[in-house]
Every structure is written in C-alpha cells, then in structure tokens.
C-alpha cells in the first residue's frame, strides 16, 4: 500500500517522534503524535485543507541497543488516516 506521507518513528525516552525531510512532530502518546503530525502537515503548506492522507510510520530499529537487535529486528509500523 502506498502512503501519502512516510515518517521515521523513534522514541526519545519521553516522547514519540515522527519525522521526514519536511516535518518533525512529537507527542507523549501516539494519539498526541498523530495530532502533532496533522498540525505539522497543515503548516507545511504542501496539502490542501480537508485533504485525507495516509501516513506510514515505521519505527527505526537502530534506536534499539545493538546487543538487543540480534534477538529480533522489528518493532512496529503503523498506518494512520489523517484529515487535515
């Protein structure tokens, strides 16, 4: 499935962070993050108001400690639908 926007997802210990070359957004919960992503996309001016976008967020597994990566190599990906 092709997403309209793709973000790399990380967690800094306090907040979830979603970013790509155009936007950076963060939130304490994933729901908060979704709202912040929506705001950031609106502010970017690349999309019309009311547009419905599919946003793919893939967790960057390189943020896991290296010793742990040998046991498993995937955290999660999520796909959300946002109406700007």
């Amino acid at each position: 499935m092709k997403a309209d926007v793709e973000l790399k997802l990380t967690h800094d210990g306090n907040k979830w962070i979603g970013q790509n070359e155009q936007i950076v957004a963060s939130g304490e919960s994933l729901n908060d993050l979704d709202e912040e992503v929506k705001c950031a996309l609106q502010k970017s001016g690349s999309y019309a108001a009311g547009a419905q976008l599919t946003v793919f967020m893939g967790f960057d597994f390189e943020t896991f400690p290296r010793w742990l990566r040998q046991y498993h190599n995937h955290y999660f990906n999520r796909c959300v639908s946002l109406v700007l």
């Binding site: 790399k8 967690h11 793919f56 390189e62 046991y71 995937h74 990906n77 999520r78 959300v80």
Partner: protein
C-alpha cells in the same frame, strides 16, 4: 542511518537472522558438492579425545584436532590439526565478517572480537575433550569388569570400541557374541590391540557436555569478572547469530536422522514426525496457558500496568527477548519497556541454562524426550534453549549409558528441545499480530485512525527457520530421490551437521556467557521477583506436565553395540 522494515525483502542482507540462513546454506551447499566428488568442507577442524599423560610424553597439536575430511575427497588428508584450525578460522572468520559488514557492525572490532572468541572457544573445546572428563567406559568394563577390569574407556564413540574389542577377540579365536568367555589375559590382550581403548584410573564420563559447560563458564567468567575484556568482545559476541546458524546445520542433522534411523531401527522417521507434531501441540498449549496466567499475575499480584504485564507475560512464557520485543511493538509500548525486560530475560535464561539440564537429568533420567520438550518450553531465547538442549543431550546419554549400559543415539534430545522451541518461535508473529489487533481495535480503540498491517507477521517471522527447513528437506530430497548419490551426499553433510554445528554451539556458549552480566539484575527487584515466581512456579512445572502428556513414551533410538 535508519532501519525501518517496509518491503518483505528488507533486512535480507542487514540482519543476523537472515545471515544465519546465508552462512548456514552456503556451507551446507559446499558440503553437498561431495555428490560430485568435491570435498569443499573437509578442512573443518574436528576435536579428538586426548589423554593428558600421553600428551606430556609426546606433545603434539594433532592429538587435539584433525581435519574432518570425509570419503568425498583426499584433498585434506595431509592437513594437520593446526592447519585445519587456521583454515576453519579463516573461512568462518571471513564469511561472518562479510555478514558483520552488511549488518553495519564495526568490522574492525568484530574481527578482533571474533578472533578472540574463536580461539577461546577452541581452547575450551579441546580442554573439555581430555579423556578423564569425556571418555565413556566400554561396555566390557561396565558389564564384565572381573574379566576386563573396570578401567577401560573409549577415546571415540563407545560402541565402536566395544565392537573392536570383540573383533580383536574373534581374531584370537574367541567368539564372545557366540557365548565364549575370554580369560583375563586374553581380554587384556584384545583391549591392548584396540587403539582407541585406553585404561584410566578415573573418568567422569561426561561426553561432549563437559566442553559445553567449560566454555559456558569461561564466557561467564569473562562477562562478569573481566568486564573490560567482555566489552572488547561484545561486537562479536552474537549468540543468537551463532545458534541460528547452528540450527540451520541441525536441519541437515535432522534430515540425516530421519533417514538413517528409519533404516536402522525402523521408526526414526516416525519418531521425528512425533517430535514435530507433539512440539507443535505443546507450543500451542504454551501460548494459551502460560500467557494468561503470567499476565494476570502481573496485573493482580504485582499491580503492573497493562503494557508491562503483557510484555513480561510474553517474555517469560513464550520465547524470551524476541517475544518481549514483538509484544511491546504490537501494543505500541515505549521501547524502554522491552529493553528492560530483555535484560532480565537474558540473565534468567543463563540461570535456566545452568540449572535445568542437570536438574532434569537427575530428576527424570528415564524421560529423555519429555525433558527435551520441557526444556524447549521453559528456557527462553534460542541460544539458551539450544545450548541447554545440547547439554541435556550429552548429560542424559552419558548418564543413561553409565547406569544401564544402553547407548541412546545422540542428538535426539537436542532435536526435541529445538523443535519445540522452533514452533514457539514460528508463531510469535501471528501472536503479536493478534495482540496488535486486540490493542489497536479494542484496548486503545480510536476508530478509523490506525491500521495493523498483516506484513507485521512476516517482519516478526524468525527467518533462520527457513534455512533450517531448506537444509532438512533438501538433504532428505537428495537421499530419497537420488539414492545413488546418498553415500556421497552424506560424506559432505556429515562434516556440516557434526563438527561445524558443534563449533557454532561452542561459539554460542562462549558468546552467551560473555554478554551475560548478572549485575544487571540490580534495581529490578519487583520485576525480578515476578520473573522468578512465574518461571519456577508456573512455567517450568506446567511445561513439564504438558510435555509429559504429549511426549510420554517417546524414546531415542538405541545404538546397538555388537
């Protein structure tokens, strides 16, 4: 740099899971070249049983090692033990360094670390093969000590010595299988003629198990008392990579066992099928019984949050670190949670590895396959489970032989432990997917907002299992469909499924010890207590009962001496 799984092919060159498949299949393929008369694996270093006083009298490196060349070719006949060790180091060091490069490891640190781990591994392996620790007493000494003496041990597989002593007696005109009994002098003369039979004043008869335990202790010593050195080795201490490669090689062994045992004793193939099916049933039970109990314990008795209980329940009751990360990802937990739980799991897996093989051997010496499956359900992480299975195999076979004189075919107990664990591993993707659906659509419901892709199942699927089944089925296919090539295929496969596999196990033992730091348990009081209670009061006993129900009556084939 970032690592996000997007396409189904992602990670094929970048993860240790896939590299276990590549390293496994490359050398399995090289082994199969023996079909065309090419011995591409005969350089592999193979340990020999040696005896201390003989070494002191005439020191030679060739006492410890030899090249494993089979009947496929003569190319390595002149290669000494040291030469085969160096070639083995260069080949495995070379292949795994390529893998390390693609996995974006620090290649320089990896090469230095692997070099140290490799030679520490072989030093432990060779030391553990000293006859007083390893050699088994011959059945003549065991059953007729008044004639042969109670001090005749065998430097190779014990039934071979028994057979050769009987042959030597036959050449002297005494047919022991026909009922004739030799005098003490004749017996002594026959024993003297058998090169691999040796007289020892004492012997622990631990088989290869002593090498495993020794290498584990060496690794643990480094990990807990030489922490600076452990840090230096860390880049190359990859027990999961090593064990997953070993499990691919074990696939060859299982193919070999399915066929040769069927031919020999009538039923080995059936036993393998029984093991596989009962392993699947037991794995299913593990998910359905352990998880809810441990989850409820975490929630009710320890007041843990929902996400912490779920991650712990999966880590403790399913397949360890992999399950903890998969579950945490499925329920979108903060990453710190699976990281903390994983530290706990790795340390407890070591405790299980140290305690359970000896405990099962002592408590249920006549239930080898039940013990094996219970091990597969109880011990977390692939590395610790396969390692525990290997130790259990060695200890139980040696113990049974010492007590009864009956020799079980080796590796069936290991196969039981690994097969059960593999079923548990295989379903973790599905389990995590179900959890993700429950979490996203029920627990934290926000209609229309987030979707769970079925691709998550594939991303979480343990890829080394693919290599394991390819090796298993390919070997069986070659032997069944091209029986005229079976003998030649076996020559190369033997090297892959025995010395190569055992070396990867030995590397795992050292590496798992190096990365286990017991001091990491500090500050995890409540979680540690919950883990200990769940493991020893819930998972281990229930696993044993389930294992008994599904595996009761299964026994390894007996090697007939004669």
């Amino acid at each position: 740099m970032s690592e996000v799984n997007r396409k189904w092919t992602d990670g094929m060159l970048a993860t240790e899971d896939w590299w276990a498949v590549w390293v496994g299949l490359i050398l399995f393929g090289a082994g199969l070249l023996s079909i065309w008369g090419i011995d591409a694996v005969g350089w592999m270093a193979k340990t020999k049983t040696w005896e201390w006083s003989k070494f002191v009298a005439d020191p030679s490196f060739n006492m410890f090692l030899k090249a494993a060349h089979g009947k496929a070719g003569k190319a390595y006949e002149g290669m000494g033990g040291f030469g085969s060790l160096i070639v083995t180091f260069l080949v495995f060091g070379g292949i795994t360094t390529i893998g390390a490069y693609f996995q974006k490891l620090d290649v320089k640190k990896y090469v230095l670390g692997f070099t140290c781990i490799f030679f520490i591994t072989f030093a432990s392996w060779m030391a553990g093969h000293e006859a007083h620790f390893k050699a088994a007493m011959t059945s003549q000494s065991k059953l007729q000590s008044e004639i042969y003496g109670n001090d005749v041990y065998c430097m190779t597989k014990v039934h071979k010595c028994t057979r050769k002593i009987n042959k030597a007696l036959k050449k002297m005109g005494i047919d022991v299988l026909g009922g004739q009994v030799p005098t003490q002098e004749q017996a002594a003369m026959a024993v003297g003629k058998v090169k691999k039979a040796i007289r020892l004043s004492w012997g622990l008869q631990l088989g290869g198990g002593f090498s495993y335990i020794l290498s584990l202790l060496v690794g643990l010593f480094i990990g807990n008392f030489l922490k600076g050195f452990a840090g230096f080795l860390k880049e190359a201490a990859k027990p999961e990579w090593f064990i997953k490669t070993a499990i691919v090689y074990l696939g060859v062994k299982l193919g070999h066992m399915s066929i040769s045992s069927t031919a020999k004793v009538g039923g080995g193939g059936e036993l393998m099928l029984d093991l596989a099916l009962s392993g699947a049933a037991a794995a299913f039970v593990a998910y359905l019984i352990f998880w809810p109990i441990v989850y409820a314990l975490g929630r009710k008795a320890f007041n843990l949050r929902r996400d912490a209980s779920a991650v712990l329940a999966s880590g403790i009751s399913i397949c360890g670190v992999s399950a903890a990360i998969a579950t945490a990802g499925a329920i979108r937990a903060r990453p710190i949670l699976p990281i903390a739980v994983s530290m706990l799991i790795v340390v407890f897996a070591m405790v299980e590895l140290l305690v359970l093989p000896a405990a099962y051997t002592a408590l249920a010496p006549d239930q080898p396959i039940v013990n094996a499956a219970a091990m597969g359900m109880t011990v977390k992480t692939d590395g610790a489970d396969a390692a525990a299975g290997a130790i259990l195999d060695e200890l139980m076979v040696a113990n049974h032989y010492t007590k009864t004189g009956e020799l079980w075919e080796e590796d069936w107990i290991l196969a039981g432990a690994v097969l059960t664990k593999i079923w548990i591993d295989v379903f973790i993707g599905v389990w995590a997917f179900v959890l993700a659906l429950i979490w996203v659509y029920k627990v934290e419901r926000k209609p229309g907002q987030s979707r769970v892709g079925a691709s998550e199942i594939w991303f979480r699927f343990p890829k080394f299992v693919i290599g394991y089944f390819i090796a298993w089925l390919t070997y069986v296919a070659v032997v069944v469909w091209f029986p005229e090539h079976a003998k030649h295929a076996d020559a190369g496969a033997k090297v892959v499924q025995s010395p190569m596999r055992k070396m990867m196990f030995m590397l795992t033992f050292v590496a798992i010890g190096v990365i286990t730091d017991f001091s990491k348990l500090k500050g995890m009081g409540r979680l540690t207590l919950l883990y200990a209670i769940a493991l020893f009061a819930i998972v281990a006993p229930i696993a044993y009962v389930v294992s008994y129900i599904f595996h009761h009556g299964l026994m390894p084939p007996v090697v007939v001496a004669g």
